[in-house]
């Protein structure tokens, strides 16, 4: 049954390679699958720019994401729990959230550079903005989704406010928090690349790598880079899903 899943994908790749091999698609527009794989090998062995190997770029990008995402989660989860629990707080902060949230993280790039200069801080800030709102909103939804009867049951067991917070609200919100974290990670990872387009001081990062590949007119390497970005995104998401299903055995 597993094999069936990849059937369509393989078919598409074969058609694609066929179209390229018979020169039905100009090379400069779309490289063939084979060329992309070869480009990938070159990225791994030689690097773009030369000497900056693929795994360097990957590590730098991951580091930026980890920073921006880590701060986002550390702020959004507690804030979300509090906003979920205290209606007044929620009413006060919501307008601010609703105004800032629609602004695309990338629109913040100019001001981020003014505030933090070009470098890891501004890239991490953009990623932070991308990840923060999904995590926050899903955490709030998590608290609000808790059946009130559970809170009452806890009260009849003599729970005080802090008991309710740590023993009911927090565990009860975990499923939604995970959803928020996965979405936030997805957005954060996607934002990363564009954030890196604007410039990274050290010359490392997947976004930077793709931009350089464009500058030297290597579409095969551009596409190989995109493939790597997609695969890493997939792996991180899969990793989170595994953690999630272990933590949510009770479902």
């Amino acid at each position: 049954m597993k094999k069936e899943r990849y059937l369509l994908l393989i078919l598409l790749i074969l058609i694609w390679q066929g179209l390229c091999s018979f020169n039905l698609i100009p090379r400069y527009k779309l490289s063939s699958p084979v060329e992309i794989v070869l480009g990938l090998v070159e990225l791994i062995k030689i690097g773009v720019p030369p000497g900056h190997l693929l795994h360097h770029h990957v590590l730098y990008s991951l580091y930026r994401v980890a920073l921006g995402y880590g701060v986002a989660a550390l702020l959004a989860i507690p804030l979300g729990l509090l906003m979920g629990w205290f209606p007044r707080l929620r009413r006060m902060i919501s307008p601010i959230i609703e105004v800032v949230r629609p602004i695309p993280p990338l629109a913040w790039i100019p001001i981020a550079i003014v505030w933090f200069g070009i470098g890891i801080k501004s890239a991490a800030f953009i990623i932070f903005l991308g990840a923060f709102f999904p995590i926050l909103l899903n955490t709030i939804a998590g608290v609000l989704s808790i059946n009130p009867i559970l809170i009452e049951a806890a009260r009849t067991l003599q729970a005080k406010e802090k008991d309710i917070f740590y023993k009911v609200l927090l565990p009860g919100s975990v499923p939604n928090i995970f959803v928020g974290m996965r979405v936030g990670l997805g957005v954060g990872w996607m934002t990363l690349v564009a954030a890196e387009f604007t410039g990274v001081r050290e010359g490392f990062g997947l976004g930077y790598m793709i931009m350089t590949a464009r500058d030297i007119q290597r579409p095969d390497e551009i596409l190989a880079g995109m493939l790597v970005i997609g695969l890493i995104g997939l792996l991180i998401n899969a990793g989170l899903k595994v953690t999630e299903s272990r933590a949510l055995r009770w479902r």
Binding site: E152, R155, T156, G172
Partner: protein, 257 residues
């Protein structure tokens, strides 16, 4: 230990004055230690509200609840509650659900675990201590809920139609189970139900509430020795008595519509 309900009234206010719902009207009642009291009444008569006021989940509009002459404080060690929908914490195993109250109280882990395991054994839940609520049947879930409440040794145990979600065979079994536990422990139990048969089978005394606003309209002492035969003439007599009173209340409701 005496629990007194003095002139308890409750009104729920809607958006405007005309939407006020009078749930309870001057409930006066006294319960002695170790008694099993059944409360029965038509739907919407305020029986759940009454329980919630005693539990401290709701504030009375008028009147007081006194325990041994003193007003009860919310969150004190006096009252435990079992809900119809079990209200088990889905992310906690059977064991963890049962020890929840002890955990909140600060009892150390070893002691908690031992005490909880005793209850698990006594309540026929052995082998299920590490299962999650979604893996348990309705009857098991309710047993966990009852264990979770009784392990705290509350002065008064409130039960809000605890067997309402169960099929009738499981329900009868649970009634017998509850009686057995009660006879061993001697808790004071206030048991709300829709089911007259259940009330007659279980209670020392049955309190019948009128339709909204709920008032006590009848008190029936059930002196039949236990174990009771549901089909006996004595039980039937009391059932008829109560059903008649409830019928009158329902007719009044219909006339008003």
């Amino acid at each position: 230990m005496t629990l007194e309900l003095l002139g308890l009234s409750k009104t729920f206010y809607g958006a405007n004055e005309s939407e006020a719902v009078h749930a309870l009207d001057h409930i006066e009642y006294r319960i002695e230690s170790g008694r099993f009291v059944g409360i029965i009444g038509p739907s919407g008569c305020g029986k759940t509200t009454l329980l919630r006021i005693i539990a401290g989940l709701e504030k009375a509009s008028e009147g007081k609840v006194l325990l041994d002459g003193k007003e009860m404080l919310q969150g004190s060690e006096t009252v435990g509650m079992v809900f119809q929908e079990y209200a088990l914490f889905p992310w906690r195993t059977t064991l963890q659900n049962i020890e929840m109250g002890l955990e909140i109280r600060g009892v150390d882990r070893e002691k908690r675990r031992l005490t909880a395991m005793e209850y698990i054994k006594q309540f026929g839940l052995s082998g299920f201590e590490n299962r999650y609520p979604r893996e348990l049947s309705g009857g098991m879930k309710q047993r966990v809920a009852i264990a979770r409440t009784l392990i705290m040794n509350p002065r008064v145990v409130l039960m809000d139609e605890p067997f309402g979600s169960l099929d009738s065979q499981t329900r009868n079994g649970m009634q017998e189970f509850l009686l057995k536990i009660w006879q061993e422990r001697g808790d004071t139990i206030i048991f709300v139900t829709h089911n007259v048969d259940e009330a007659v089978f279980l209670s020392d005394e049955i309190v019948v509430l009128s339709r909204r606003p709920g008032r006590i309209i009848k008190r029936v002492e059930v002196n039949i020795p236990r174990p009771r035969d549901r089909t006996s003439e004595e039980c039937n007599r009391i059932r008829r008595d109560i059903l008649r009173v409830l019928e009158v209340e329902m007719k009044k409701e219909e006339r008003e519509r």
